[in-house]
Amino acid sequence: MSAPATAESVVQSVDWLAVAPPTLTAVAALAVLVADLFLPGPRKALLGWISVAALAAGLLALLPLLDGDRSTFCLTTDPGVCSYVADRFTLVVQLVVLGGALLAALLSMTALKDEARRLPAGEYWFLLLGSAAGAALLPASRDLATLIVALEVASLPAFALVGLRHGDRRSSEAALKFFLSSVTATAVSLLGVSFVYAVTGSMHLTVVAEEIQRVDGQFSALARAGVVLTLVGFAFKTAAVPFHFWVPDTYAGAPLPVAAYLSVTGKAVGFTGLILVTVLAFPSYAPVWGPVMAVLAALTMTVGNVGALRQRPGRDRSAVRLLAWSSVGQAGYLLVPVAAAAYGDDAARAIGSTLAYALMYAAVNLGAFTVVALVDRSRPAGRVEDHRGLYASRPVAALLLAFFLLSLAGLPPGIVGLFAKVTVFASAVEAGMGWLAVVMAVNVVIALVYYLRWTALLFRAAPEGAPAARRATAPLTAALVVTGLLAVVLSGAPQLILRFTGVTLF
């Protein structure tokens, strides 16, 4: 920082290839916003195709980065300290985030067509892409400021997305709930960051990790408070208990594709932040955050699963509500390896389990949302009960939904879900956290009840007078094919995602 301000040392060379995935998305967001002004009403569907293409391009931009770690925005004085790193971890999370956004975009195209009066297309696509850009930036950020900025870029458009539906009180109420609680959490998180900056004098995660071990004795309480407060903001995004209460109402109030987007991308943002902060910035404080994470994980999965269990299938929007609660439960499983990273010798391996689980969860959960969206078109009440007899009217969709739900439950034939759970269990057992493994075992049983109840409903006899199924649109079919193929292929070859438990991530 104190280097003489010559042009050489101030102007950084930027590795544009490395930053391409979030940049492409962000540029596309602006392009869509501008294009919206010039496109007449009937042509607005074009915006959707542009957005889908942009997200697909963002995903393709990950390919050239596979050859090795790249970093950019480094300190001119110390090239080893960078703000943006595209390593294996970053790429995997960007894959989850952009892939999740892409599938959500496919769902949105149909939703926008069906609700053209109430959802403004231009704003919708701008907000979705903007949020996805922030979410894609987050895993690459390696300093606390970028991290918080990315977190906000990812969340602020999400608030608007939730409340975007014109004249829907439930939607606006959900947005307000989401907004107020999220902003509070971010404020707390910022406070924590400022404490950490105060005691270490740096924002860069790697520097913080070193400096925080040499904190003066009188500041150690401040440092510890900083660590815990920083985590709160990210725990909120993961919807970890007790920061979960916004989830069911928000999901149920938001347009369905937005709920799907939040359940995957929003979750990925949260746990990525948690991992970066805990494992990269505060490894020496593992005794502080380890137990916190373990308790958070146990509470989150239990509360989420019990909440899902209590959903009455006949209530309006109960399908999305159930998926919302189940996503809270799944977030608990995602946190188990993070907690295990505090205790085990091999943090990277544990984090790899979280990544593998997240990949599985993203594919399968979005698949479930796709089928729900499909059913929603002919039966807009969105009740679980509306899925009764789905096998009779749409056999393929019903079989796939059964497959997705059983994968979420972790039972064969959902083999990918089973092995994803096995890695999470293995990380807990390896770290010697038997109690957490037992809590998780009980949770797996609780979760089976509601997943299987729903699955069984699909194959019952259809009720009398059910409205005829509407034809699936091309984007919905595409989303169903992609998620279905992913789930089936991964069930045959779980190694494709489980290999992240064995590679160097950072």
């Binding site: 593998a356 039972l411 089973l418 096995v422 038997g434 493994a437 075992a441 299987l452 489980l498």
Partner: protein, 531 residues
């Protein structure tokens, strides 16, 4: 016996495990032209019979090609890496311990498919029924053929969903609740088992059962072994089921359709006891030694408890359900199996394996017979049945349907362990093993267990004879009494039951056929694992 190329054997074993799964997928597709049969229902049920018959033939070929001179060696082994990240390998193989169970499973499933073909199941589409039956077959066959802990867990879990739907869709009264009870109990057990399996795998550095048995992995400390045995043991004990974790079984059996009951008793329960012998005994012997006396104690309590429950159900006026009674008798019979394993002696374990197979044959037959009885009389309630005879003296099956009555009496007598039939040897060897348990186990305690177990055989005889008296004997009603005449054993039933009857007699008269297979393998197990 017959010299068969090793790669053919390998293909046969893979065929046995994979074909039912492919068959299940095929069952969901529309039948191709030329195989449409009389109706889609008939075509798909016939498809089920064809696939299970092919699997049975392959299993028999495997048994024929199996080198009976060295049953202690793993044969037909395949070992391919599947998920390197978790160190999961597709490691298949059979030895003298798993081969009989494999053939038994293939046989019972085939007989079930045959039964379903002749009596199309009421309640749902036959398509789904056949698909589920075949998935169930894959899961059960795989659990006896795999040699990897995590694959074993996968196979163990595979049977849950099909069995749940078989009970919940095609079952009788109270099926929804029974199906839930079944799946939640067993899932909780198997997830706890997974923790134990992971603990063993992580500590030993390998999930391979053969490597663990031969001590190729890192040695496990006693603490690890104790914790692992506790976790895995609970999972297996729920499945077996061991008293007091058995309460899901009577409900599941009572509600399940005939096919479900036969497979549940004949095959699924064996997966639990097989796990004890295949995983716990060789991989964690020191941990197992700690729990062996408790296991034996629970086992004999189960024997007495099951018998007393059966006696109570068989009483006049108790409105006991015959299926429920056989379910409780299974708790008792599996108690003998557990007692045999808990002695940690070759004699006891051989007895356990023998009793396993015998119970599969006899109880499978019993459930078939009771299913047939229910089809004819419409009830399995003992009181209602015996009220059908003149002055409520008994159902008088001997008089009304002599062959059915004779078979039922035969199965009951086989079940109570009459010498000369299959039920005898296993229980005798288990008790004999308890007479002289492994060094390090308290002999006086085991003598007590043996005495209690022997007393249990008396109780078993008592309730089965009561059942025979109340169902088979009695004065037949006169035609004018309005009690329907019963059809005697039909052709397809004869075809389905004969193999079980023949094998029950064969195993009783020529136990060496089975013991010759298991004994060398068991000896090897205690001497350092199957190689």
């Amino acid at each position: 016996m017959i010299d068969v190329n090793e790669s053919v054997m390998r293909a046969l074993l893979a065929f046995v495990v994979v074909i039912p799964l492919l068959g299940a997928a095929a069952a969901l597709l529309p039948a191709p032209p030329g195989l449409r049969g009389r109706s889609p229902e008939q075509a798909v049920l016939r498809h089920g019979v064809t696939v299970t018959a092919a699997v049975l033939l392959a299993a028999l070929a495997l048994a024929a090609g199996f080198d009976h001179h060295r049953p202690q060696t793993m044969q037909a082994t395949t070992d391919i890496s599947w998920i390197p990240a978790l160190d999961v390998r597709i490691h298949l193989g059979v030895d003298g311990i798993s081969l009989p169970l494999l053939v038994l499973t293939a046989l019972l499933t085939f007989l079930c498919a045959l039964h379903a073909y002749a009596n199309p199941p009421a309640g749902g589409s036959p398509k789904a029924f056949v698909a589920l039956l075949l998935v169930l077959e894959t899961g059960t066959l795989a659990s006896f053929a795999v040699l990897d802990l995590l694959l074993f867990f996968l196979a163990f879990e595979t049977v849950l969903i099909p069995m749940y739907f078989l009970i919940a869709r095609w079952g009788g009264a109270g099926r929804a609740q029974a199906a839930w009870k079944f799946i939640l109990f067993t899932l909780l057990g198997s997830v706890v088992m997974l923790l134990g399996l992971l603990l063993i795998g992580i500590e030993a550095g390998t999930f391979d059962m053969v490597a663990l048995a031969t001590g190729d992995g890192r040695p496990l400390t006693v603490t690890v072994q104790v914790v692992a045995v506790l976790a895995i043991g609970i999972g297996l004990a729920v499945k077996t089921p061991m008293w007091p974790l058995h309460s899901w079984l009577p409900d599941a059996h009572t509600a399940a359709p005939t096919v479900g009951s036969v497979l549940l008793a004949g095959v699924l329960l064996k997966m639990g006891t097989y796990g004890f012998v295949r995983i716990l005994l060789p991989a964690a012997p020191e941990g197992f030694e700690v729990f062996a006396p408790y296991l034996a104690a629970f086992a004999v309590v189960g024997i007495v408890y099951g018998s007393l429950a059966c006696l109570a159900l068989a009483r006049k006026g108790a409105r006991g359900d015959l299926k429920r009674l056989i379910a409780y008798s299974s708790v008792g019979h599996m108690g003998f199996v557990l007692l045999g394993i808990a002695t940690m002696t070759p004699t006891g374990v051989n007895g356990a394996l023998f009793a396993n197979v015998a119970h599969g044959l006899i109880t499978g037959l019993l459930f078939f017979l009771v299913g047939a009885l229910k089809d004819r009389t419409g009830t399995t309630d003992l009181d209602a049945l015996s009220a059908q005879g003149l002055q409520a003296t008994g159902a008088a099956l001997y008089g009304r349907a002599p062959r059915l009555g004779g078979l039922l009496a035969f199965a009951a007598v086989a079940s109570l362990g009459l010498p000369g039939l299959a039920g005898f040897w296993g229980e005798m060897l288990a008790l004999f093993g308890a007479f002289d348990p492994a060094a390090g186990l308290s002999r006086p305690a085991y003598l007590v267990f043996m005495a209690v177990g022997a007393f249990g055989t008396l109780l078993t005889a008592a309730y089965l004879l009561v059942v025979v008296r109340r169902v088979c004997m009695g004065a037949p009603p006169r035609d004018t009494d309005g009690v329907p005449l019963l059809a005697d054993v039909r052709g397809h039933e004869f075809a389905a039951w004969t193999p079980l009857v023949v094998l029950t007699v064969l195993a009783g008269l020529w136990p060496k056929a089975l013991l010759g297979l298991t004994d060398p393998a068991v000896q090897q197990l205690f001497a350092g694992g199957t190689r």
